[in-house]
């Protein structure tokens, strides 16, 4: 295992210390329990948006904490759900009197732990609502989920729901907006290589020199099929056609197109994928009104890509364009 770490057990704590040192202008980091909160939290009168999930997907979620994004993020250990006390403490720290929205990806462990934290928060008379992402069209149930897995749509949710909360929507409105995004976003991913969890020390699955896994999850969960490597254009078709057919997206729809790297895929390759994805979208009559290209929801050092589409009406576009100031996404401010 080749990693820039000191010891597997300290990876998350030391990364959090680094985030605290690098982004002290924007965030506060708690090391007991682990969470990252907006420096100016609680923001009075604003719905507080709190996310969380296993580490190893950076910049998700901690990189999206800040103005116009999340109020707090709760990182578990690598590929491990955060515990209820993290969401409980973080939510209390950022609650500005307008309720808390929990926003996270559909994994059984995450749901269970967010459930417990929500019971604890309600005992404190804090109102809590929830938006899930379950956008991965590759498989129905999976290793760690009942239902579909939540993957890259989570990033778009963080941005859009964050903007809606910043714009002053109340908890019910923010939840309804989040649910509408959940209903109209779809994703599929693939991997060229496995990744290595620090405390495991070896790749979590094996792929031959000429193989790829299509429909992979963000923890290396099996996908739809293991196949010989093909060209970038063919790979893009294998991902985007099932995404488009699933909703389905229809000719004339405005969409946000998001090409995401899995962590170790160079940007030069992501643009080659974007090129073909934009061509396929155009062929289907979709109008790409906004886009995002980069490594935003990763699986440690996995090489691979995912493609996400989200239907985008004028309101979604307006929320997308709204100012955001986080470590990983920033514009307008």
């Amino acid at each position: 295992m080749k990693k820039l770490i000191n010891s597997p057990e300290n990876v998350v704590r030391e990364a959090l210390e680094g985030i605290a040192l690098a982004h002290v202008d924007r965030v506060r980091v708690s090391l007991d329990p682990f969470y990252i909160a907006r420096k100016d939290a609680p923001v009075k009168g604003k719905v507080a948006v709190v996310s969380g999930g296993g580490s190893g997907h950076e910049p998700m979620q901690g990189g999206y904490v800040g103005f116009g994004g999340l109020d707090a993020a709760c990182p578990g250990h690598v590929f491990t759900s955060p515990t209820p006390d993290q969401m409980f403490e973080a939510s209390k720290a950022v609650h500005g009197g307008a309720g808390v929205l929990h926003l996270f990806a559909n994994y059984t462990g995450d749901i269970m732990n967010f459930d417990v934290s929500e019971e604890l928060l309600r005992e404190e008379k804090i109102e809590v609502a929830r938006v899930l992402s379950d956008d991965d069209v590759a498989v129905q149930n999976s290793l760690y989920t009942t239902g579909r897995r939540g993957v890259a749509l989570t990033i778009l949710l963080d941005k859009l729901v964050g903007a809606a909360a910043e714009a002053g929507m109340n908890l019910a409105q923010v939840k309804a907006f989040g649910d509408s995004i959940r209903a109209t976003g779809r994703t599929m991913g693939m991997a060229l290589t496995s990744c290595t969890i620090p405390h495991v020390g070896k790749p979590i699955f094996e792929l031959g020199d000429n193989e790829m896994e299509v429909g992979i999850g963000v923890h290396g969960e099996p996908g739809r099929q293991r196949l010989p490597i093909v060209s970038a254009d063919e790979i893009t078709e294998m991902l985007l056609e099932p995404v488009i057919a699933d909703l389905p997206y229809k000719s004339g729809d405005n969409v946000i197109l998001f090409v995401n790297g899995m962590g170790a895929t160079p940007l030069i390759e992501l643009y080659i994928i974007y090129r073909k994805a934009a061509e396929i979208a155009a062929k289907h009559g979709l109008k790409v009104v906004r886009n995002l290209v980069g490594n935003y929801f990763t699986s440690l050092d996995m090489a691979g890509v995912s493609v996400t589409l989200l239907r985008a009406d004028d309101n979604v576009v307006k929320m997308w364009d709204a100012p955001i100031n986080t470590a990983a996404l920033r514009w307008g401010i």
Binding site: I5, V11, A15, G263, A264, T265, L270, I272, Y274, W331
Partner: protein, 333 residues
Amino acid sequence: MKKLINSPENVVREELEGIQLAHGDRVRVSLDPFYIVRKDAPVKGKVALVSGGGSGHEPMHGGFVGLGMLDAACPGHVFTSPSPDQMFEAGKVVNSGAGILHIVKNYTGDVMNFDLAADMLREEKIEVASVLTDDDVAVENSTWTAGRRGVGLTVLMEKLLGAAAEKGADLAHLKALGDSIRATGRSMGMALSACTVPHAGKPSFELGEDEMEVGIGIHGEPGRKRVALAPADEITEMLMEPILSDLPFKSGENVILFVNGMGGTPLIELYIIYRKAAQIAAKHGLKIARNLVGSYITSLEMAGTSITVLRADDNLISLWDAPVNTPGLRWGI
């Protein structure tokens, strides 16, 4: 070789097509010859900043074209210098009459081809000056350079000079500012793994399972030493201490600290490096006025990191904070 590409010979062209499709709101791409220019170029009365170099270092340089940074970037093939006609044509397109500043990393091929382009532009009565980066303290001469290699400082140089040009600085002033940045910035890098150039098809060098290369160049050029893998904190010391002693940076100084990923290194690891780098800077009495953490000057999918320290007076900090709107770096707008 596992890559998301269609064919090695089309990598750069197809990437550029992807950039045009993704960022058509900000840039225009020419495919013959290859260059990327600001969509609103030429910007009347502003000195035009033109950079370039081999591809494979994305987002550098094409990702830094836009308001507050470069006017044009000229990508060569992977790890290959761009040819003079690229800088000549791009220079003519972005020149608004206030002259052109070339920002060139110190590699023999790049220096020669930018020189030729500058001569051709001068024949057209266009004024051209040039700023070099040669910030890598690891080695004095190297495989592809006379003198030191230009590495991570180039990203900071493009941001700072871009801001100064946007504020109306003239060519002589920009050249002087660039030279002062060159004189006060230092970098050093290391690699855990090699990278594979698409048309070569195999790793550009071999590293054992327990080895790392300290002082690596951004094309996998040999560094200072090949040693056994060490903890992240020790690696950070091996990079920071030679940087600090080289200038030398002195107690009480304000600096910009830049921790860069080589392409295949997850962000979680870069924050572990940043943590220790900030501690070492503090121990030396340096005040980190601004920072940057992420993969901005890469070597394809190489795993590794580099650290850059730049002395930062109030003027540089104000230039750093000035608005920038490029695909690779954006804030304030």
